[in-house]
């Protein structure tokens, strides 16, 4: 079956995300980045993956890859509840705007990010923000780690089952420290 957006009608234009077919691909992209940032939406704290939440896996990924975390909306509260305090709070549309600004120096004031990892936003909101970045942040690479295909990212999983997604996330995290 061809790769399709999760929301059937949200077809993208001529430029579409490459599909992450195996965890190594995601690992290679993340490892290659000089200045990655992880943007976590509120759904990450609601979605079950086995006996944990999606958020727990994403935070593990952040720790393993030493990636700064931005919690959008009220996600920061959930992140802090888990004892993870190195989190910035910034709304999703604001981070979108700033990532598209070549002059922005990032949240630590050093340098613009070169890779933005997205996960846990409402599908359509992530779709539109990634669309903005696709068009207006040419130097930025984006990767969507949800289990639904985000055509406007640079890389995305296809629409995969929760089981497959869970296994992929675990493998990405495991390999990240290598």
């Amino acid at each position: 079956m061809p790769v399709e957006p999760w929301q059937s009608a949200e077809v993208a234009g001529p430029k579409k995300a490459s599909v992450i077919t195996k965890p190594d691909v995601a690992d290679a992209i993340i490892k290659r980045a000089r200045r990655p940032v992880l943007i976590i939406g509120h759904l990450a704290a609601e979605i079950d993956l086995d006996d944990r939440k999606m958020l727990d896996y994403l935070l593990e990924l952040a720790k393993k890859g030493n990636i700064p975390v931005i919690g959008t909306a009220h996600t920061g509260r959930e992140i802090r509840k888990r004892g993870y305090t190195r989190v910035w709070i910034l709304p999703a549309v604001e981070i979108g705007q700033r990532l598209a600004d070549p002059e922005w120096k990032g949240l630590d004031g050093n340098e613009q990010y070169d890779l933005a990892i997205f996960a846990g936003l409402p599908y359509y909101m992530e779709w539109t923000i990634l669309s903005g970045l696709k068009s207006f942040a040419p130097a930025l690479k984006t990767i969507a780690l949800d289990n639904t295909y985000q055509p406007n990212a640079s890389w995305s999983f296809a629409n995969i089952s929760v089981k497959e997604w869970h296994e992929n996330l675990k493998a990405i995290i495991e390999d990240l420290g290598d």
Binding site: P14, H42, A73, H74, I89, V93, Y124, T128, I129, S131
Partner: protein, 787 residues
């Protein structure tokens, strides 16, 4: 400054002594004779042209830069296309992606403005036909002296009679035509100029809104600026299904008024139920509190499929395009009543009433087009009486439990329903459970379902998914029995006098308006929760349209709706339902009247100065949590031009651009101090102009923050910061780390939070700044200096 040049003869005589007598203030124009009694001096921009306020727009757009999120990568508007605009490419006409996105935003704003202005034209024409063009405008008797703040501000005229509104509509139609033409291939090519035109469309839209509500309040006897407008019944459960039931859907109220009149004239009021969905419903209850509101626009399918309505009358705007099809399925005759929404039906306007009733009651016709609203009343009532006895079986239209399970068993778990659902609802899992006899999950979906039925369209098994969701808990819709305050109309001048000072000084922490459609991400309850949070915090809460209905569909522990708990006055802690969509003009009007009545600024054709006043001083924020339509886009644009920020829900990102400030760029937040002429740093207030929030928690924190204005006094800023910090700590679990940007001196620091705020200020290396008399306009400084 440009202004619209009107062709034709126009003579103005200040004073003339002649043989026939003395004439004063006479203005003669072709086809019109108007007396000009308004002595306030005219400001610089009467009837502003498309570019007259471009400089003001640029000031806003410099601070609030558009962040475009293309909803489509292509342009397909001409035969050159489709053109791929990704990767910095230009289309065959030369347009680039930012310009194309802003062009589409302008198209949406023009559609919205045209819709409101056309609605206003229809109302005014109808009102003039019935009551005459000399009929006095009366939005609030002696309580409302500034009867039309938007018209006064934009056009520089003071309308007194219905006929005066035609001049406003002539202008508005002219402007929309010009704005729309700018979207043609090979016209405007710059995104910021498109954006300026979007703001112009919003301002024109606001004129249309004001004209429409001013006309209908004046002639239909709606509540006139009445804080104690009646509480009316709301919900499917309030309908007496034993009686014949009429349903009106849409926005244009004359057909509904004619139904109410016919019932009254024939002493049938207690025998027939008049129910409504969307704004026509609110306006029907403004006309007669005995009419009943079913719910917001998302209730259309669920109510029709319940089989309850015997006759359906649709007028215009936000009416489902498949209503005729749905009506036929429940054997309810349908009346189309607007030239804008004819639905392919035969025009029977000129036919005898008896023959129309016979044809509809016999099923010979499934629907008719009746373009004379006064005729609708008799035909609708008599048809309802005729068909109701035959429809008793259909009225139990909901699916029985065994039928639901039967349908669920045919589900193949292909997930096409969920992939079509705007809210990604867990329909497949619910189907699986229902197939095993457990319909609880299906029933739970009801609250978050926006009633679009895309799930059904996507289902290859043709399962009636939406009907199953509505039917899963058979008693559910019957439990929908609420009370809401009907639309009160304008805000009284005396209310403005009372709260103008506390708002401008910041002591009333803000005015928050919950408006717009019902495309909610997680159900309408979120709007009610937000509304009550701010009312409890003593903000002034305004509302209108579908949002006002969603607020009413909530009960507290004592079974009371917000409208029963909070007063309807424009005061701290009030929940003010102004009315239908077009009544949004009164919310803008209140902000304008603060400048005029409280601050005594000259209103007349003085847009820039008044917008500058509102932007810098009036802590107002609009929240359109379920914004869906082009009308909502136009309404938002009208508020942006006045400098009032608007927050939308996450679906609002599909409007494809935000107007976002950058708190981290200090250089963006300077304004003039009117007293000294110096440029001073005022902090990022308000931080954004158009913002899509991801969750209601994010929206609430942001709303509290967006209410801050440069003019806040120390006491006022401390109050506003208290709410911002408190909400941030409660909902985000931590102290906000940008408080230092909003503290100007020690007087701004909330007493109860002094220690933690001071700690943060020390960490951030905060330095005291001054509180200016703020303005973005250099000529305001000059005016003060020169006295």
């Amino acid at each position: 400054m440009g202004r619209v040049v009107k062709k034709g003869v126009n003579i103005r005589i200040k004073e003339l002594k002649s043989d026939i007598g003395d004439i004063r203030d006479l203005e003669l124009s072709v086809g019109k004779l108007t007396s000009e009694k308004w002595t306030d001096p005219s400001g610089p921009t009467p009837f502003p042209s498309v570019t007259a306020l471009r400089n003001w727009d640029k000031k806003l757009l410099e601070r609030y830069k558009p962040f475009y999120m293309p909803f489509c990568d292509l342009c397909c508007l001409c035969t050159y296309g489709k053109c791929d605009l990704t990767g910095g490419k230009r289309g065959a006409c030369g347009i680039d992606m930012p310009a194309q996105q802003s062009r589409i935003v302008l198209l949406a704003a023009c559609i919205g403005a045209a819709t409101h202005v056309s609605h206003a034209r229809e109302l005014v024409t109808h009102a003039i036909e019935k009551f005459g063009s000399d009929n006095k405008l009366d939005p609030g008797g002696l309580s409302v002296e500034v009867e039309a703040p938007v018209i006064r501000l934009v056009c520089g005229i003071k309308p007194e009679k219905l006929g005066d509104l035609e001049t406003v509509l002539d202008y508005a139609e002219n402007q929309i035509s010009q704005l729309l033409s700018a979207t043609h291939t090979g016209q405007e090519g710059n995104n910021l100029d498109f954006e300026s035109k979007v703001l112009h469309a919003g301002m024109i839209d606001q004129l249309g809104l004001e004209v429409a509500d001013l006309a209908q309040v004046s002639v239909f006897g709606f509540p006139k600026a009445d804080p104690e407008a009646p509480l009316v019944e709301l919900g499917i459960g309030v309908v007496d299904t034993k009686k014949p039931v009429i349903l009106v859907i849409g926005h244009n109220v004359p057909p509904a008024t004619s139904i109410v009149d016919y019932l009254q004239d024939n002493r049938l009021t207690d025998d027939i139920e008049v129910t409504g969905i969307c704004c026509t419903a609110i306006d029907a209850t403004r006309y007669s509190p005995k009419a009943k509101i079913i719910g917001p626009m998302s209730w259309q399918l669920r109510y029709i499929r319940s089989g309850i309505p015997d006759v359906i009358i649709v007028d215009e705007q936000c009416v489902r395009c498949d209503t005729l099809h749905e009506a036929a399925l429940i054997h309810a005759p349908l009346f189309a009543t607007s030239e804008k929404n004819c639905l392919g039906l035969p025009d029977r306007t000129g036919d005898p009433v008896d023959s129309i009733v016979v044809d509809l009651a016999s099923g010979k016709e499934t629907g008719v087009l009746i373009l004379d609203p006064d005729k609708v009343g008799e035909i609708a009532v008599r048809t309802a009486q005729a068909v109701a006895p035959k429809r008793k079986k259909v009225k139990a239209g909901l699916l029985a439990a065994d039928k639901i399970i039967e349908f669920a068993k045919t589900c193949t778990q292909c997930k096409q329903c969920r992939r079509a659902c705007p809210n990604d609802l867990h329909i497949p899992d619910s189907m699986k459970a229902a197939g095993k006899g457990n319909t609880v999950m299906l029933s739970d979906i009801y609250d978050e379902c926006i009633g679009c039925a895309r799930c059904e369209q996507a289902c290859p098994q043709e399962i009636p998914i939406h009907s199953m969701i509505v039917s899963a808990d058979s008693g559910r819709t019957q439990k929908e029995t609420f009370l809401m305050r009907t639309g009160r109309g304008a805000i009284q001048d005396v209310e403005i006098r009372k709260v103008g000072g506390p708002i401008v000084l910041g002591e009333i922490p803000g005015v928050v308006a919950f408006v717009g459609c019902s495309n909610y991400p997680k159900g309408g309850n979120e709007v009610a929760e937000m509304c009550m949070e701010f009312a409890r915090r003593r903000f002034i809460v305004c509302t209108s349209g579908c949002a006002a209905m969603s607020i009413g569909m909530h009960k507290n522990g004592e079974g009371k709706t917000p409208y029963e708990v909070y007063p309807g006055s424009f005061d701290a802690g009030g929940i003010v339902n102004v009315g239908s969509c077009v009544a949004n003009a009164h919310i803008a009007g209140a902000a304008i009247k603060i400048a005029s009545i409280f601050a005594r600024r000259n209103l007349r054709a003085n847009y820039e100065e008044i917008a500058d006043y509102v932007y810098n001083r009036v802590g107002a924020v609009g929240v359109a949590w379920g914004a869906m339509s082009q009308k909502a886009a136009a309404i938002a644009a009208g508020f942006w031009r006045l400098g009032i920020p608007v927050v939308v829900g996450p679906h609002g990102t599909k409007y494809r651009r935000m107007l976002l400030g950058r708190a981290d760029r200090k250089e963006d937040w300077y304004c003039y101090d009117r007293r000294t002429g110096e440029k001073v740093y005022v902090g990022p207030v308000p931080e954004h102009l158009f913002f899509a929030a991801e969750t209601k928690e994010e929206a609430m924190v942001l709303v509290a923050k967006l209410c801050m204005r440069p003019n806040d006094t120390g006491k006022g800023r401390a109050i506003k910061l208290t709410h911002y910090i408190d909400l941030h700590k409660r909902l985000f679990g931590v102290m906000p780390d940008d408080v230092h940007l909003f503290v100007r001196n020690h007087g701004d620091i909330p007493v109860s939070m002094k220690e933690e705020v001071m700690r943060l200020l020390r960490e951030k290396g905060w330095k005291e700044t001054t509180i200016p008399d703020p303005t973005l306009l250099s000529d305001q400084v000059i005016r003060v200096r020169s006295g």
